[in-house]
């Protein structure tokens, strides 16, 4: 018997996490990168164009009509106003897609996670690996988008470089909540309701126009949406109009991320091991 145990190549997983974690999230990330290379690199690559097309359409087309817009007393081009919002929106969309549809599909149809859990991996390895992959991709898109913004002259402050970590934080916040949500979902039909939550956030979170046009009651409602805080963070960074409010927005995401992670950690067993 001892011969077999020694000859086994597997690393000895730790008991500390009650069988939840083997410290090998890296293998999950590797698998994701390999799958991207092997079968869907075009799709992944194409994801970069989505916000860029939006920016070209809205920034140039609509910008030509609207011209400039007042933000906190200073006037900026409409393109420079919506670009950071589109960046935050794409971070949200990417993170939500990866943590809901993608997870739901791999869990219920591809059975990919079940396969991973037949090995010495624990649920935590899988969750960390998948979220890291999503954030990695989001980060790369963000860099690309900032380059396009810069070429179009829509980057108004050198602080814009901080938008990259900010976008990753935003994506992480949405991904953790998305995964927590998915852990309760059983059918496709339930998943269908997701766009009904995403669409109003996309339309009303100061993406295309300032929330000051709303009556105060509605303004407060919008200020509760996570996307609004994300848009504000990125907009402050790319326009350079930073106020102390940024700490509130960042705090919002810190709380969102923590809540999401706690729920996901609790639900992992239900999600993967029941």
């Amino acid at each position: 018997m001892s011969a077999t145990v020694q000859s086994s190549a597997a690393i000895a997983p730790s008991r500390r996490f009650g069988g939840m974690f083997a410290g090998n999230a890296r293998a999950v990330i590797e698998r994701g990168l390999r799958a991207t290379m092997s079968s869907n690199y075009l799709v992944v690559l194409s994801g970069f164009f989505e916000p860029v097309f939006y920016l070209l359409s809205m920034g140039v087309g609509l910008g030509g009509i609207i011209g400039s817009i007042e933000v906190d007393g200073t006037s900026i081009a409409y393109g420079a106003y919506i670009a950071p919002a589109l960046l935050a929106v794409s971070a949200m969309n990417g993170a939500i897609y990866d943590s809901t549809w993608n997870v739901f599909f791999k869990l219920n149809f591809g059975k990919l996670y079940q396969t991973m859990l037949l090995t010495s991996l624990g649920p935590l390895d899988v969750a960390i690996g998948e979220i890291t992959l999503a954030l990695l991709r989001g980060g790369v898109y963000a860099i690309g988008f900032l380059i396009v913004m810069n070429i179009m002259g829509l980057v108004l402050s050198p602080l814009a470089i901080l938008a990259i970590p900010a976008v990753i934080l935003i994506a992480a916040g949405f991904a953790s909540i998305g995964m927590a949500f998915t852990s309760y979902m059983k059918t496709f039909q339930q998943m269908d309701w997701l766009p009904m939550v995403m669409l109003p956030m996309f339309l009303f979170s100061a993406t295309f126009f300032p929330i000051t046009i709303y009556p105060p009651a509605i303004q407060i409602m919008v200020e509760c949406f996570p996307l609004w805080h994300g848009v504000e963070i990125v907009r402050m960074l790319t326009t350079g109009a930073i106020t102390p409010m940024i700490w509130v927005h960042l705090g919002y995401y810190a709380v969102m991320l923590s809540v999401g992670v706690v729920v996901v950690a609790r639900r992992l067993r239900a999600l993967f091991l029941d």
Partner: protein
Amino acid sequence: MSFSSRLRNVAMTIGFFAVEHPSLLDYVFVSEPVIRAKNIVKKYDEFVAVDGISFEVQRGESFGLLGPNGAGKSTTMKMIAAVSTRTSGSLEVLGMDPNTDGPAIRSQLGVVPQEDNLDQELRVRENLLTYGRFFGMSRAEVATRADELLEFAQLTDRANSKVEPLSGGMKRRLTIARSLMNDPQMLLLDEPTTGLDPQARHILWDRLFRLKERGTTLVLTTHYMDEAEQLSDRIVVVDKGAIMAEGSPAQLIRQYSSREVLEVRYGSDKNASVAKKIADIGERQEILPDRILIYSDNGERDLAEITKRGHHPTTSLVRRSSLEDVFLRLTGRSLVE
């Protein structure tokens, strides 16, 4: 498969594995339980999938769980594989508790699930590589191992193919190759040949037989008695989440059935009425909707007796008892429904 080709296979197998496993004899003759299950129960809300079953599996043994669909076989396998938390009872796999030592136990297991869950986004060989990496094996190690196992699974020429176009038999072999990446102490196979054509089944059985010869502990579930007979040293028959009987295939047949079975058919309308008139023939009878089964030591003699009484069946058949008969006897129901 002819005797000579079987011999050749055995010779090849020993040649193939002797390099890796010089102490083949260790596995075969050491008796020590690798699974100890006592009264394990699994409930999903109100539904009881497994209802207090107990068994032990020895190292090097080939152990079969036989039962119809929904008997609780797959759930039992999942609990052993540490991917389903049991509700109560005690379970030890390789001396550890699956509820708390999941990753450690799984690092020593190979699992072949009921449905092929190969990674469709990856190529054939990549499936093996990434799977090995999940166990924390080094890149060099997974590469060598993957090539060896592609050879074993007779898939070397499909190494760079996509998964989807593979035939059912190939997918199964790839799944088995994948489960061997970590050089497991024990292999769990859930319905390994369900849905395969006869030829693909035989190829697969041959591969599994080699693993058995090599000393790998095999635990398999099946609802095919021929499969159980082919591959298992010892079987437990499960039904509705509980164990009905236990023993080697031969023992079970001896204990629960007769040597021979005579099957006679009179058409679905008449079977029951004829059965009443020949009720005294044989040791025991089972009246199924489509046929009557008569258990005895000499089926030909009984058939002659029935014919003599003037009940000419539309078709008749004399065969040896199988595990199917054991199951019928134990549960009153047919195995494949």
